[in-house]
Amino acid sequence: MPEHQAYSIPLWPMLLYAGIVLILLSAILTLSYLLGQRHSERATAKPYEGGIEQTGSARLRFSAQFYLVAMLFVIFDVEAVFLMLWALGFWELGWPGYIGASIFVLQLVVVLIYEWGTGALNIGINPNKLMKVVRDHHKKSQQ
């Protein structure tokens, strides 16, 4: 790092930049707060849901699919960290490193195949299942 610093640009401009950004953002927020108009009417204090009255809380329960995506992210992003390191040291590590990384990637692929095979990657509604539900419902209503 030290030798690199000799020709590189120092760090402080970045801090300056960040400071200006911060000031700018707060300035915009304050300014719009000060300049903005105020009014209060019948529906002002209600959540906007396309013109329909809100029913129930907005704190919905979500499908576990979202959780699954989050887990996939956690897993693969953490794996990505290791691949990034390998990429950084790519030339130093040479073929042995390549073999190591390919074993690693192979494992990732295996996991991916597993996720795929067990249907974890089918995010949306399974149309077959949906049709079955509909048919069942139909049958029941006919009886």
Partner: protein
């Protein structure tokens, strides 16, 4: 970069570690306990980075990456369990989980 004394970093790490530990011991909500554990793990990671800076080696930083990975894995399983616990007990209070005990 400013050179920061290794011992100072270590003290910060130790404080974080102790805070996390206190959190684990005093908190009753499982999520907060998990977070406290994460704090402890990160404190350990910080100590590793400090040590690795002291010896000018990459080992400590490598270790930090492993800690990250492990924390992620742990949290994914942990959250899954928390979900299941909430599903079954309708609470995240660790003291309500007392089906297993000595008779």
């Amino acid at each position: 970069m400013m050179s920061i004394q290794v011992s100072a970093v270590l003290i910060v790490a130790a404080i974080l570690f102790v805070l996390g530990f206190i959190g684990v011991l005093t908190r009753k909500n499982i999520l907060f306990m998990l977070i406290s554990v994460e704090i402890m793990l990160n404190a350990a990671g910080l100590a590793f980075v400090a040590a690795s800076a002291k010896w000018q080696q990459a080992d400590g930083q490598v270790m930090f990456l492993f800690i990250l990975a492990m924390a992620a894995a742990e949290v994914s399983v942990g959250l899954a369990l928390v979900l299941q616990i909430y599903h079954q007990y309708k609470t995240l209070d660790i003291e309500k989980l007392n089906a297993l005990k000595d008779e």
